[in-house]
Amino acid sequence: MITHAFHLRPAPVMSRTKQIQISNDLSELERLNLLVEEFGGENNFKTEEEYAIYLCLEEMVTNVISYAWPDGGEHTIDIRLAVGEESIRVEIDDDGVEFNPVEFGAPDTVAPAEERPIGGLGIHLVKQTMDDMFYQRVDNRNALIMKKKRIQG
């Protein structure tokens, strides 16, 4: 659950990283899943940690692929995973249209089924399952950083 604003601070030294570049095609999610599976195995992710990393990548990358390039065409998305003693960090970087998910409002999860709007649910779930989310627009690129605290014990 994100309960406070994320302040810009130097990234802690991460002991392990993995990165991948994917194209803006939803079939690429499969390759991304394999990367998370491998990374999670190497770093002994707990079920809850691995679930949160799968979820944040699937939801956010699906949004980027679906909405970042209204004119279509071939584009790439850079994804970096890093793990340290205290947290797991996920970075998604693309040159699509500006979109700040941190400021995106929460969907109605209380209304009757018939009245619920479609959309926004994925971002809501990511905000609830990750501990931090930070967005920056730099050089006409979207840079999204999400963190999940390591579960101790």
């Binding site: 939803l26 999610l29 499969e30 899943n33 079920t47 809850e48 679930y51 799968y54 979820l55 699937e58 939801e59 699906t62 999860t109 209380v110 009757p112 089924a113 018939e114 619920r116 479609i118 649910l121 994925g122 809501h124 779930l125 609830q128 399952t129």
Partner: protein, 117 residues
């Protein structure tokens, strides 16, 4: 993603899903799931004990089918979700619309009791 249907002694049907309800898994099973739940317009149990993951696309599949069922005054109960799947269903507020039970007999009682909704 796999789907199987069992006819229970109580007269209700239990639709069991198995696999990951991510984008790919949901697309694989969506049409068949709708055929076996929403389109039948009968109260139904949905066994999630073998579903290891659900993302927003999978949740939307449940919401669109419960809408069809409620319009026909029928119910759905989710049975035995794994811990993280249940947590995500609750974060999405699904449990307010589709009751979650961990015991089949209790789930059947929910289907039997009262009016839908």
């Amino acid at each position: 993603m796999e789907l199987s249907v069992e006819n229970l002694d109580s007269g209700y049907r239990c639709v069991a899903l198995s696999g990951r309800l991510d984008l790919k898994g949901t697309q694989e099973v969506d049409a068949q799931f709708t055929e076996e739940t929403g389109a039948k317009k009968e109260s139904v149990l949905v066994d999630l004990s073998n579903v290891t993951y659900i993302a927003s696309i999978g949740i939307r599949m449940f919401l669109s089918n419960i809408k069809q069922l409620r319009a026909a005054n029928a119910k759905m109960v989710i049975l035995k979700p794994q811990k993280m799947v249940e947590e995500v269903l609750k974060l999405a507020g699904v449990d307010a619309i589709i009751p979650i039970e961990h015991d089949q007999a209790a789930a059947v009682e929910v289907l039997k009791g009262g009016n839908a909704g």
